[in-house]
């Protein structure tokens, strides 16, 4: 039996009066890739952003219910501490343009004022870039700024930056929607590697991607979690008609 690392209990999220995530209950097992899919406006991105408490940065938002990481409610912790444990990769690659590749990877430590020896720093940078399948491509230009990298490489840099922090969970918000097909597939391959060490929750609007990369899939519709099952089962034998309609392309 796989252990649960992340668990939402009756979780709600609001934009002011707008109820955008409705009573979601979900248990996410360790070292899995979980895809979260659904049509535009279904609340999947909002739900994702609640997991690392980025949702509350927008004015007028509020949440309800429990979000447990290793059985601790993250809404009882300080957001900064939460974000050390739960990392995020965004839709558009966003390496810090004023920092070199090296400094980007180590940014979570360096900008936090953490003093680490050069030896340890080098180790972290190399290991993170290795895990993100970027090391060989940039090892000779670590001290250049990251803006000359391609979109796919930049996104892998952002992944390296996030995993350098050794998070328990890595959240990815449509990580390949701004990338070309080749970069997209390299990142999908990467995700399979990453799940050995981390748990990944990926929001995607691309069904085929969900089918390709994930172990379990969650289908959101109009703010509710409609169905959550092992990916293979959901795509071959969906239990809810709405899920079925979505998968067969009735709406998107």
């Amino acid at each position: 039996m796989e252990s649960t690392i992340l668990k939402a209990v009756d979780f709600d999220a609001y934009f002011g009066e707008n109820h955008v995530v409705k009573k979601v209950n979900i248990e996410i097992p360790k070292n899995n890739v979980i895809a979260v899919m659904g049509p535009s406006g279904c609340g999947k991105t909002t739900f994702l952003r609640c997991i690392n408490r980025m949702h509350e940065l927008i004015e007028g938002t509020s949440t309800n219910g429990k979000m447990l990481l290793n059985n601790e409610d993250i809404y009882d912790m300080h957001p900064i501490l939460v974000r050390h444990k739960i990392g995020m990769v965004f839709q558009r690659p966003n390496p810090f343009p004023n920092l070199s590749i090296y400094d980007n990877v180590i940014a979570g430590y360096k900008l936090n004022g953490m003093k680490i020896s050069k030896h340890d720093r080098d180790a972290i940078v190399e290991q993170s870039l290795q895990k993100a399948s970027l090391w060989n491509e940039v090892k000779d230009s670590l001290h250049k700024k990251g803006t000359f990298l391609s979109g796919g490489q930049q996104q892998r840099l952002c992944i390296a930056r996030a995993i350098a922090m050794e998070p328990d969970v890595l959240l990815l918000d449509e990580p390949t929607s701004a990338l070309d097909p080749i970069s997209t597939s390299s990142i999908e391959v990467l995700m399979q590697e990453l799940k050995k060490n981390y748990t990944l929750v990926v929001v995607t609007h691309n069904m085929q991607q969900a089918a390709r990369v994930s172990d379990k899939t969650a289908f959101f519709y109009l703010g509710e979690l409609i169905e959550y099952d092992i990916t293979k089962s959901m795509f071959t034998n969906p239990k809810d008609t709405r899920t079925q309609n979505y998968i067969t392309g009735r709406f998107s």
């Binding site: 980025m54 900064i80 974000r83 990392g87 995020m88 004023n98 940014a107 979570g108 952002c158 996030a162």
Partner: protein, 281 residues
């Protein structure tokens, strides 16, 4: 129809010529002034000019050392006050688009920007000179700092507003505290715009006279004491130019050239910084 079209086209061509002529004419007084100042001032500047004090009336020679040092000090202290305050205010305004404080602060900055410089001098006279019972470089710096604020605040706000939100999000998602995200990611990315705003502000106040008339007041002697009256280049130019003595006129020409070069240099530096240090996205 033909003659009508010819007439209309002719009118259009004439108009274009008129526009070009008037536009070019605008630049003529500028060049006349620049050339004249260079001509008059160049011969007056030499090493003695830069390091000596002004001589009493009647004696030839003398220099503007007190004004040079005074200007540098007053501008330096003013920048010390205005730059951190202005940048922080600019950060607040770019981070808070619509709070009540933000809107009122923007209004205040607009008001400060439109205030005549002589009125600045009056107010700071009552705020600093009277309580201290003396004219002082400090009061001059305060007056100039208040004049710098709108420029620094504005350029900081505008620069930071242009940065994509995703930059801030990336920093926050890494678990960085808010102040680190702003100070170590956002500010460095906007450095070219902020810096050019700062240098423009310095260029602007370096040449200001009116606010110093009743604050720093001027000083015939060399002084670096912030609590005593201090000479500055624009003040010296004003006093000596309007005096009756040729010797002092000469000093004023030299000082005017130095001031002019100083202001021109700062403007050129601003342009270079804006181009070279711009952070690409």
């Amino acid at each position: 129809m033909k003659p009508n079209i010819k007439y209309r086209l002719g009118k259009s061509r004439f108009f274009k010529g008129l526009i070009i002529a008037l536009s070019v004419l605008c630049t003529v007084p500028l060049f006349i002034i620049l050339i004249y100042i260079f001509k008059e001032g160049f011969s007056k500047i030499n090493w003695h000019f830069l390091v000596n004090m002004p001589k009493p009336v009647g004696e030839a020679g003398g220099g503007i050392a007190n004004a040079l040092v005074g200007s540098l000090l007053i501008v330096f202290y003013a920048s010390l006050i205005a730059i951190p305050l202005g940048i922080m205010c600019g950060i607040y305004l770019s981070e808070n688009r619509n709070t009540r404080l933000a809107n009122w602060t923007r209004l205040s900055v607009d008001v400060l920007q439109g205030t005549p410089s002589i009125v600045m001098g009056i107010v700071v006279y009552f705020w600093v000179v009277k309580p201290l019972h003396t004219f002082s470089a400090l009061s001059g710096s305060v007056a100039l700092a208040i004049m710098m604020l709108p420029i620094v605040v504005r350029s900081t706000e505008e620069t930071l507003k242009l940065l994509p939100d995703t930059l801030k999000e990336a920093g926050l998602a890494l678990g960085l505290p808010y102040h680190k995200v702003i100070l170590r990611i956002i500010l460095p990315c906007g450095i070219s715009g902020i810096l050019s705003g700062v240098i423009l502000a310095v260029a602007r106040i370096a040449g200001e006279t009116a606010p110093l008339l009743f604050t720093a007041f001027g000083n015939l002697y060399f002084s670096t004491n912030i609590l005593k009256p201090m000479e500055s280049l624009p003040l010296l130019i004003f006093n000596y130019a309007t005096s009756a003595y040729d010797d002092w006129h000469n000093l004023a020409w030299g000082a005017a050239l130095i001031l002019l070069i100083w202001v021109l240099l700062l403007n050129i530096i601003t342009k270079i910084i804006t181009k070279k240090w711009r952070v690409q996205f």
